[in-house]
Symmetry: C2
Subunit: 335 residues, 2 copies
DNA sequence: GTGAAAGCGCTAACAT
DNA sequence: ATGTTAGCGCTTTCAC
């Protein structure tokens, strides 16, 4: 019951329960292989001593850590946080621990961080996106552990992919805007630092070509993908020249910021300009007018990645290299 | 250069470099204690073999993991994510790895999760809030590792606290609203599941007493603290009876939702009703009208907690039990 | 169902 | 500056 100064180890628990160390180990890991009486004694001893297993020792011997390492670009963007929570919850339910790190959108940082994470002997790895350094692939291929890439699809996955097509999402959204009669459609975002951003821009461009319309990309450059940047982008569009019929934004924060700026400037949405975002964040649903967007499976990608990992670590076969969780174009009032 | 199927261990690197295993260990941990030539040979061998240290082994022997465990209520709320990133970045800069878990706002879950985390032998622990189960305190006090509680202040910290006073923040905000002439001020939130929510409500109530005004708390119950809930709360206030002069919301999402609902209903803000939030999320700054709120040191708490931990693990003295990072009442257009 | 012995891959302590 | 030895706390393997 009382906490102790010197760390309690398994042999202390064993002595307390009057059994061998290995029996404590079994009582904790595989209780069905221990008689009920002994099991009870061991549990009582664990309670009494306040024992917490030293997983470093177990990992060292068993070569299994029950840790899954994941790298996300940032935690600040709530959409990756959803994937992380989906992962964490599903892994926790199966006794796995999520070791989470963020790369700040840099492939080099990702490699460095993965190197550190691998030192913890994770049983599996989850990455965001499908663009990585060549050495990262080597690092992982030598380990023979399950790897799941998320948030995109890929022809050449490292191992498994759970995601959706950013390109198709943006493409279908653009077609949907055109179907509502918009012709001069601008894409507002950046092709710079991030692959998924580039995919969305490419999907837009592809749709414009298919429609026989001229693509028009408005760069936000290195600015954060935030509400404020969206507002400034709309102001920039106004300054640039005649306002397009519609604007597709890299994500819902930008679109919402643009919506606010339109309202401040007295521009009717969608009358004067139609707006669309990407991601289906809460704000897109709640804004007035509500914002047309593309719903992406943030939480589900985490859950499914976790399920894939748990099943493979349990030895179950699994032939699907790629799981496409899809997206949904959500037409709302802003377009 | 090439990755290997069988895991490379330190002795493999040593053989490759023609030195003893311990020399590789030193080259990696304390390069200044190794001659430049040997250092170069070891680095070359590490490169050539693709060696990644097994930290489980190092942790077991050295009793130091270079892991810091942290528990936040949720990652979905971007404000805790900021604290987590502040922690992660500052710890990473000093070679520590953040092991992050979320408790879902439950003290019992927090205890269970901490138990798991402690198994990884963290060198320090960071908790959110100052309300925990008694067993959690026991669990930690037996370990003699630095513990930092965040997001609140406390008379009886487990070890160290880095935070601010939620109660004072809400109290001062309420006084500021009163100073603008508002008398019938309602607090919208919940006292249910979360301590910080209760503190904010208490601060409001205390201010109202000091002002000789009657407190009026509108409960949102178990609903999520979201934009949509804020909108529904405002609708609820309207149904309930005559609208108050001003409303303090538990956080900025609620306040923003209420603002949207006011706009939909044609209620002037702050003319018909003044609104205030808590947290200073981006949306409070960007909304039209911008939202009066209380700015809290989310990222800084993470940074400072990390600094405290790194310094103590480096053996530096540190007498401040409690670091109050303060808050700032930000008066904007909504009140 | 339970136990004894061995050893996972590192690093602390003690040489040299 | 470099090496030798021992052992961290578990779990695997092999007994009984």
């Amino acid at each position: 019951m009382t906490a102790r100064a010197a760390p309690v180890k398994m042999s202390d628990v064993a002595r307390h329960a009057g059994v061998a160390t290995i029996t404590v180990s079994r009582a904790l890991r595989t209780p069905q292989r221990v008689s009920p009486q002994v099991l009870a004694r061991v549990h009582a001893a664990v309670e009494a001593t306040g024992y917490v297993p030293n997983l470093a020792a177990g990992t060292l011997k068993s070569q299994r850590s029950r840790i899954v390492a994941a790298i996300v670009p940032t935690l600040r963007n709530s959409i990756f946080a959803e994937t992380a929570e989906g992962l964490a919850e599903a892994l926790d339910a199966h006794g796995y621990q999520l070791l989470l790190a963020n790369s700040g959108y840099s492939a080099d940082a990702e490699e460095r961080i993965l190197r550190n994470l691998l030192g913890q002997q994770p049983d599996a790895v989850v990455l965001t996106g499908t663009v990585h350094t060549p050495r990262l692939r080597e690092l992982l291929s030598g380990r023979r552990i399950p790897v799941v890439e998320t948030w995109d699809l890929s022809d050449q996955p490292i191992d498994r992919v759970v995601g959706f097509s950013n390109l198709q999402g943006s493409r279908q959204l653009t077609h949907a805007l055109a179907a509502r009669g918009h012709r001069r459609i601008v894409f507002v975002g950046t092709t710079d630092n991030e692959r998924r951003a580039g995919e969305r821009c490419a999907g837009y461009c592809q749709a414009m070509h298919e429609l026989g319309l001229a693509p028009d990309v408005f760069e936000i450059g290195g600015q954060p993908v935030s509400i404020g940047t969206g507002a400034r982008a709309l102001a920039g569009l106004l300054q640039r020249g005649p306002l397009p019929d519609a604007a597709c934004f890299l994500n819902d924060y930008l679109a919402f910021g643009a919506l606010l700026e339109c309202q401040r400037q007295g521009l009717a949405v969608p009358g004067r300009i139609a707006l669309a975002g990407f991601g289906d964040f809460e704000i897109a649903r709640e804004a007035s007018p509500s914002i047309t967007t593309v719903r992406v499976p943030g939480y589900a990608m985490g859950q499914v990645a976790a399920r894939l990992i748990v099943e493979r670590l349990a030895g179950k076969a699994d032939d699907a290299k790629e799981i496409d969780l899809g997206f949904e174009v959500v037409m709302r009032d802003s377009a």
